[in-house]
C-alpha cells in the first residue's frame, strides 16, 4: 500500500496530494429524468491507485464510471482528469479507457483487430498497431489466438482481450466495470491476482467497480462505498471495516451485530437494556446510535467465566442455534432483547455449546465501534 497516506482515526478519506490526483469529481450529480443516479459526490482518485467503487445494485457505480469515461455527462458538478476539466468532452477525447461489464468485444473482428482498434482510430498505421497489439496480447497470455474471433474464446479469454484492448492505448486511468462478474469463482480469484499485479507493474490508476466486497477489500488501495447515489465513505479496507462512519457501511462491509443505543454523554452510550458502554468514538449526547460489534470480536463462555476486566462489557445469553463452518463455529446467541451473532474458532465437539445452553458473552472495550443511526 504505497499510495494513500496513513489516516488518522476520524478522517477516513485520506487527503490526496494535488499533483497526484488522476480523477477529481467535485459536486457531481447525475439525474435521469427524476431519478437521481448520482447525488452530489466529491471524490479524488490518486495517480497509480487501485480504487474500488463498491455498493449494492443500482447505487450509481456504473453511472459514476460512465461519467469519468465520457459515456454520460454530469448534470451538475466538475469532473477533472489530471487537472483538465472534461465534463462534457466526448469519450474519444479523454485519456481513459474502459473494460466493459460484458466486455463488448467487436464480434466481427479478430482478437488482434479488437486490440489494435484504439490505436487505429488514433491514426497509428496498420503494421505498428498490429505489432503493439501483439505485445499486449502476449502480456495477457493470449499469444497464438490473434486470429480468433471473440466467439471462439472462453469467458476468461474474452476478459483478457477486453483488458488488452483497453491497455494498448496506454490510458492514464483504466476504468473497469465489474470485469470479473461473469467469471466463475476459481477464474475470478486468478484474475484478481493478475489484475492487481498488472496494475502494480503499469502504475496506472485502476477504477474498479464491483458489488463484491471481498473483491474490493482484497484488491484495492482505497474503496468508495456508495448507496442510493450517495458516496458514504472513502477509505482503506481497514478504515471501512474497523471504523465505518455510517450504519449502512458498518452493515454492508462484512458481518456485524448492530446494537441500538443512545449517547449518554460524549464517550458513554447506553444500550437498550440499560447497559452502559464506553464508546471508542465520540458522538453528540442524546443521539440515537448503533454499536457495531463484529461476530469474531465477541467471546463466548460458560456463565461466570467472564474475565474480570471484561465484566463491564459482558452479557448473559442463551444459544439459539449453532452453525458449523468447518474452520469456525457461528452461534446465534439470544441476549435479553436481541440476538447476536458470535463467531469462534472451531473447538472439539465436547467443548462446543449446544442449543439451549446458558452462556456469557463479552468483548474487548476497543472492539466495538459506534455509528450514527441516521
Amino acid at each position: 500500500m504505497t499510495n494513500p497516506p496513513p489516516t488518522d482515526w476520524t478522517a477516513t478519506s485520506p487527503p490526496v496530494d494535488d499533483a497526484a490526483i488522476a480523477v477529481n469529481l467535485t459536486g457531481i450529480t447525475k439525474r435521469f429524468g427524476d431519478v437521481t443516479a448520482v447525488n452530489d459526490i466529491d471524490l479524488q482518485i490518486a495517480d497509480g491507485e487501485f480504487f474500488a467503487m463498491l455498493g449494492p445494485s443500482g447505487c450509481g457505480k456504473t453511472t459514476t464510471l460512465r461519467m469519468i469515461a465520457g459515456l454520460e455527462f454530469p448534470t451538475e458538478g466538475s469532473l477533472q482528469i489530471f487537472g483538465v476539466e472534461v465534463g462534457t468532452q466526448p469519450p474519444n477525447k479523454r485519456p481513459v479507457n474502459t473494460v466493459f461489464q460484458n466486455y463488448a468485444l467487436f464480434p466481427h473482428l479478430t482478437v488482434r483487430d479488437n486490440v489494435s482498434f484504439g490505436l487505429r482510430m488514433q491514426g497509428t498505421n496498420k503494421r505498428e498497431a498490429a505489432r503493439r497489439a501483439d505485445e499486449l496480447i502476449e502480456l495477457v497470455q493470449l499469444s497464438g489466438m490473434e486470429k480468433r474471433k471473440p466467439a471462439q474464446l472462453s469467458g476468461g479469454q474474452q476478459q483478457r482481450v477486453a483488458l488488452a484492448r483497453a491497455l494498448v492505448n496506454e490510458p492514464q486511468v483504466l476504468l473497469l466495470d465489474e470485469p470479473l462478474g461473469a467469471l466463475d469463482l476459481k477464474l475470478r480469484q486468478e484474475m484478481q491476482t493478475e489484475l492487481k499485479s498488472l496494475q502494480r507493474d503499469l502504475g496506472v490508476s485502476f477504477v474498479f467497480v464491483t458489488h463484491d466486497q471481498e473483491e474490493a477489500l482484497t484488491m484495492s488501495d482505497r474503496i468508495a462505498v456508495m448507496h442510493e447515489g450517495n458516496l458514504l465513505q472513502v477509505g482503506r479496507a481497514e478504515d471501512l471495516y474497523e471504523r465505518p462512519e455510517s450504519r449502512f457501511v458498518a452493515d454492508f462491509i462484512g458481518q456485524t451485530n448492530l446494537i441500538d443505543a443512545t449517547v449518554a454523554d460524549a464517550d458513554m452510550i447506553v444500550l437498550t437494556n440499560g447497559t452502559k458502554v464506553k464508546a471508542p468514538n465520540p458522538h453528540p449526547a442524546g443521539t440515537s446510535v448503533a454499536m457495531s460489534l463484529r461476530p469474531e470480536s465477541i467471546e463466548i463462555g460458560r456463565p461466570g467465566t467472564v474475565p474480570t476486566e471484561y465484566e463491564p462489557t459482558s452479557l448473559p445469553g442463551v444459544v439459539k442455534s449453532v452453525t458449523y463452518l468447518g474452520h469456525a463455529l457461528v452461534y446465534d446467541v439470544g441476549v435479553d432483547w436481541i440476538d447476536l451473532e458470535v463467531r469462534t474458532e472451531n473447538v472439539p465437539a465436547e467443548q462446543r455449546f449446544t442449543v439451549g445452553d446458558d452462556v456469557a458473552i463479552w468483548w474487548d472495550r476497543h472492539a466495538d465501534w459506534v455509528v450514527p443511526n441516521e
Binding site: P91, F106, F117
Partner: protein, 275 residues
C-alpha cells in the same frame, strides 16, 4: 423441419399420413413450377401440349424488343429503388432501434403499414398521391413514379430486416468504439455497419426481389408507356398464353430464387472484414 430430440417420433399409420401430407404439400407447391419449366421447352404454341423439345421460346425472348425494353426498365427501377430504400430503411431502423424521440411508437407502427395493407390499397393510394403531386409539381408518370412507389414499400421490408439484426447487436459496442477513440461516424462505419451488414444485404436483396416482382402497384402508377417485365408479361397473357411467357417466367423465377437465396445466405453469415 427436423424433430427435436425430446419429442417422440410418431409411429405406424400416423407417421405414414404425415409423410403423405408432406408430399402432397410439396406437390401442390412445385408441380406447377415443374410444368411451367417443362413447357417452356415445348415446341408447340399451345401451353399444355407437348411438341418436342426446343429452345425457341428462349431465343424469341432474347430477340423480342419490347420484352428486352421491359426487362431493362425492371432492372433500372429495381436498382434505383433498392439503393434508395436500403439507405433510408437502414437509417429508419437505426433511428427506431437506437434513439428515443417523440413519436417513436407512432413512427414505428407506421413503418409496418406497407407490409400489412393490401397491394391494391397501396397502389390506389400511390396513384391518388401522384395525381395530386403531378398537379402541383407537374411531373409525368413513368420511371419516377414507379421507382418512388417501389421505394415506398421496400423501405419497410429493409428496415424490418435491419432492425432484427440491430436488435441482436449490443449497443455497448458503439460505446466501446467511442471509448477507443472512434468518432461517432467511425463507430458507425467500423463497428455498427459491419455487424448489421448481413441484415442490410439481406434487406437489399429482398427489396430487389420485391421490385422485380411487383405487378399491381406498378400497373397503377405507371404511365407514358413505361412497362416493367412482370407488367408486360401480364399484358401478354391477355392476348393468349404462349410458351414465351413460360420462358420469361422461368427466367424471372430463376432470378428471384437466386436473389432470395442470396438474401437468406447474407442474413446468416457474420459481418465482413474490418477496418
Amino acid at each position: 423441419m427436423s424433430t427435436s430430440a425430446g419429442i417422440t417420433e410418431p409411429r405406424g399409420w400416423f407417421r405414414r399420413v404425415l409423410q403423405a401430407n408432406a408430399w402432397l404439400v410439396y406437390a401442390f407447391f412445385y408441380l406447377p413450377i415443374v410444368l411451367l419449366v417443362i413447357y417452356s421447352f415445348s415446341d408447340n404454341r399451345n401451353v399444355g401440349v407437348w411438341g418436342g423439345a426446343t429452345l425457341d421460346w428462349y431465343r424469341e425472348f432474347a430477340n423480342d424488343e419490347p420484352i428486352k425494353t421491359a426487362l431493362g426498365n425492371s432492372l433500372k427501377i429495381a436498382a434505383a429503388s433498392t439503393t434508395v430504400s436500403v439507405v433510408l430503411g437502414t437509417m429508419a431502423a437505426l433511428a427506431l432501434e437506437r434513439y428515443k424521440f417523440r413519436g417513436r411508437g407512432f413512427f414505428d407502427a407506421l413503418l409496418y403499414l406497407p407490409v400489412i395493407i393490401p397491394d391494391v390499397t397501396m397502389a390506389v393510394m400511390m396513384l391518388l398521391f401522384f395525381a395530386e403531386a403531378a398537379k402541383i409539381l407537374g411531373f409525368s408518370r413513368g420511371f419516377s413514379t414507379i421507382t418512388l412507389s417501389h421505394i415506398a414499400f421496400s423501405i419497410s421490408f429493409v428496415s424490418i430486416v435491419v432492425r432484427a439484426r440491430l436488435a441482436g447487436t449490443d449497443e455497448k459496442l458503439e460505446e466501446a468504439a467511442m471509448d477507443l477513440y472512434a468518432s461517432r461516424w467511425q463507430a458507425f462505419r467500423y463497428v455498427t455497419l459491419p455487424t448489421i451488414m448481413p441484415g442490410v444485404l439481406g434487406g437489399g436483396l429482398l427489396a430487389l426481389t420485391l421490385s422485380l416482382d411487383d405487378v399491381v402497384i406498378t400497373q397503377f402508377v405507371t404511365g407514358g408507356g413505361w412497362n416493367t417485365l412482370p407488367v408486360y408479361v401480364f399484358g401478354l397473357i391477355r392476348k393468349g398464353v404462349t410458351p414465351l411467357i413460360n420462358a420469361v417466367s422461368v427466367v424471372m423465377l430463376v432470378a428471384s430464387t437466386v436473389l432470395v437465396g442470396l438474401s437468406l445466405l447474407a442474413q446468416r453469415i457474420r459481418g465482413g472484414e474490418p477496418v
